[in-house]
């Protein structure tokens, strides 16, 4: 895969000839740009990338990336991508999918993809709404949220994608704000490097049907205090003045201010994304003020696609029948003259 003849790409090489048709102001534009900028940094040839999606606004993604792509059917992107990756491990397989696509109709494929740990990167465009069908509540919509299908307020409690993913044995889970292309690029590159299923939840603003859903985290005025960007090996410090931090208080996380109550930087938890035990990662995924962004968990294990290939190789050397003709002619046969 590393190759001295590797062409040098720019983001333009990954822009297809199709006109982008999201609503003006939609965060999907930002994610598209982030991908187009991140792909050239992945040390792969353009034809090795495959983008698979389901149905939804966000699922139009593959049309706009000039690589191989399939705009599948609603909810099945993870399952289609599974086939692509199992068929050819050399490909870099990406899934672009909405909260409806991956957590409503596609919920089963989502959790099974994660359980199997197939080396696929899934971008979860979580706008807490069904965009394409014009504004019904989704499985991540909040209680009380008024939508076309909940005119008096939603009464179905939401999934928390991070908890669901880690509950399905997620080995890589990250969260990024919809408008932050820098962070998106960095995280996408890490997701690609990571061997295993990488889930990247994008807090994606839908300007039409759920505008401002994440303002409490992403508004310029509050974002420094409302977001904790975690990096492996670094202390969990945040805040406009970088003076806030996270400490463990029994079995709960607590926000403290460095310099107050005798708290020093050394007291602050250091992020260990590679810890196998999920306890702390779940606490981070659950935290809501600040909300945790960046790579929360990244614990490598052998992937299913790798095990699959190994098994085939192993069988090639062990198997009794080396050719199908041998198989057909094996066991109890008899001659008719």
């Amino acid at each position: 895969m590393t190759d001295s003849n590797m062409p040098v790409y720019t983001y333009k090489d990954f822009a297809s000839d199709q006109e982008v048709r999201w609503c003006p102001g939609c965060d999907d534009y930002v994610v598209l740009k982030s991908i187009q900028k991140a792909l050239p940094q992945m040390g792969r040839r353009k034809e090795e990338f495959v983008f698979i999606s389901g149905i939804g606004c966000s699922s139009r993604f593959p049309y706009y990336v000039d690589t191989y792509g399939m705009h599948g059917i609603h909810g099945r992107a993870a399952a289609i991508a599974t086939g692509v990756k199992l068929a050819n491990r050399e490909l870099s397989v990406w899934v672009a999918s909405g909260d409806g696509d991956s957590l409503a109709i596609g919920g089963n494929h989502f959790i099974h993809l994660i359980r199997r740990n197939i080396d696929i990167n899934l971008i979860l465009f979580n706008n807490e709404i069904y965009g394409l069908t014009k504004g019904q509540f989704s499985p991540t919509s909040l209680m009380g949220q008024k939508t076309k299908s909940s005119p008096y307020g939603n009464i179905q409690p939401p999934f928390h994608p991070g908890e669901l993913a880690i509950g399905s044995s997620s080995r890589f889970f990250a969260r990024v704000p919809g408008g932050n292309t820098k962070m998106q690029q960095a995280v996408f590159i890490e997701a690609e490097k990571f061997k295993g299923t990488s889930i990247v939840e994008v807090l994606q603003n839908c300007v039409i049907f759920n505008d401002g859903a994440f303002d409490k985290y992403t508004d310029r005025a509050v974002k420094d205090d409302a977001q904790l960007y975690v990096e492996h090996g670094k202390p969990m410090i945040f805040g406009k003045n970088s003076d806030k931090g996270i400490v463990l208080d029994g079995l709960k996380l607590k926000v403290v201010t460095i310099g107050e109550d005798g708290v020093t930087e050394d007291d602050i938890l250091v992020h260990d994304a590679k810890e196998k035990d999920t306890t702390l990662h779940l606490m981070l995924a659950r935290l809501h003020m600040p909300v945790v962004t960046g790579i929360i968990r990244a614990v490598e294990e052998k992937t299913y696609d790798e095990l699959c290939t190994e098994r085939i190789e192993q069988m090639k050397s062990q198997a009794k029948f080396k050719s199908v003709n041998e198989l057909f002619a094996s066991g109890e046969t008899y001659e008719v003259k």
Binding site: K46, D66, G83, N88, F328, E332, V336
Partner: protein, 620 residues
Amino acid sequence: MTQENSSLDKQSVKDVVIRFVGDSGDGMQLTGTQFSTTSALLGNDIATFPNYPSEIRAPQGTIYGVSGFQVHIGESAIHTPGDDVDVLVAMNPAALKVNINAVQPGKTIIVDSDSFTSKNIEKAGYKENPLITGELDSFVVIEAPITTLTREAIKDVGLNKKAMDRSKNMFALGMVYWMFTRPLNHTIEFFKKKFSNKPMVIEANIKALKAGYNFAQTLELMPSPLVVLPAKMRPGTYRIINGNTATAWGFLAAAEKSGLDLYLGSYPITPATDILHELVKHLQFGVKAFQAEDEIAGISSTIGASFAGKLAITTTSGPGLALKSEALGLAVMTELPIVVVNVQRGGPSTGLPTKTEQSDLLQALYGRNGESPAIVIAASTPENCFDYAFEASKLALEHMTPVILLTDGYIANGSAPWKIKKVEDMPDITHRQITADDVEGEFEPYSRDKDTLARPWAIPGTPGLEHRIGGLEKADITGNVSMDPRNHEHMTKLRQAKVDKVADSIPDLKVEGAQEGDLLVVGWGGTFGSMFTAVNSMHEEGKSIGLAHFNYINPMPKNVEDVFSKFKKIIVCELNNGQFHTVLNAKFPKFEYMKYNKIQGLPFSVLDLINKFNQILDNK
């Protein structure tokens, strides 16, 4: 071959049907298989059919725990496991009770008389012991204390009673071997090989087998043992194969022939699961066999694997096909080659999951939203499942379209001799994968081959051919999304035309028996055996009757009207309520079709067919 009864007082019969029945734990499948293989090795043609209970392990001696294995052997070509049983071997009262209706008066029943305890008799639902009520008087009943005799024969081996009783079936098999002049050596070898590290098991079974054989000979169970002479089969090397294994192997052959790896995405479901079981054993051929979380993931992953360049298939049965219908539409729209195997079972809904039926035909043809044509073909015998699995792969890969292959529980589980094929002898498969070198100018994913209308197959990883496909309507040639009204009409007709064009490359419909005349019998798929047997025997008696049996259903062979027009009457026979009858009426309304249907989860009875056909011929 053992020599004892190769004397000249043997009587020869043309064919014989034997059914071994007992508890699930009685080893009836093994017994039946041994008898089949031994007979095949003698040169007989054979057809077999197992009949499992749907319970995994029902309590001993109950009606619903009865397991059976039927084998039909003959000196000429055999096409069904047989309607009526010549010899029923029943290991307990429940087995007798469940199977007695398959035996005509005058035929032979062997029972283990030791098993007719009052408890077992009651469990079977008999009020009194049928061996003494006289209700079996019209049969030739052979009561043998099989349990006692087996225990006696192997008492020195050193097994406990429970283990000893596991050899009862071999005692029974020994008896039947004598009756039909079969040698014991194949079965003896089998035990030696299979249980090489369990010498006591080998010894017990061989002793029991021989004891049964000798018991029969000593008591002269029959006036004289019978012989079934070798069939006149085409020379070659044969093996016995069931439909599911043949299906799996057909795909292995197609993968090798096409130079592609095989991908299977499947979710277990009776009676299709054995195809998965077979393929997971042979990963060494590069098979990626993926057990998915459900049928939808099964086919979706198959579409993904096809996009990525594999010979990609998915296997299922009725309810699973229903679940796959939405994704099948995606394969139609993206024009990707996949094969969907549907091993039909009794419906609707969960229906009769372990029984056979042909009632998914209309679902296969029409069970998708929109105008969504797919190729539909059907295998008609256990052994030609191999050929049609191969053919399904070839059609999918050459025409860039999904293919549905229909088999059914009857041929999937039934076995027959298969003249072993070599990959070299199979037809070539030319898939449509391309590289940038094959393309002049801009790559056009929806450009077409002139003859087949197939589009090119540019797989991820190929430099320069990056493109996007999907389920929205595609613009002609470019493959871009298009909402243009005229393009949609054009593409809808084009997808239909592409499937219709397959008719150019499939064989003509053949007629068996009379090539023209009074009655044309029409069938499709897994009923071939019984229908051919019926028509053939009537034709040999000089009746003006022919059989047109379909393997290609969409599209149909080009000569159908030709064939139909040569007969005065046409009758369509199916194991459903008339689905192919509906299709033929719709497609060729100018003919009048009678219909004959059976919806019992069972194959046709040859005799019933003959009666029906004679009735029609007599009324002419």
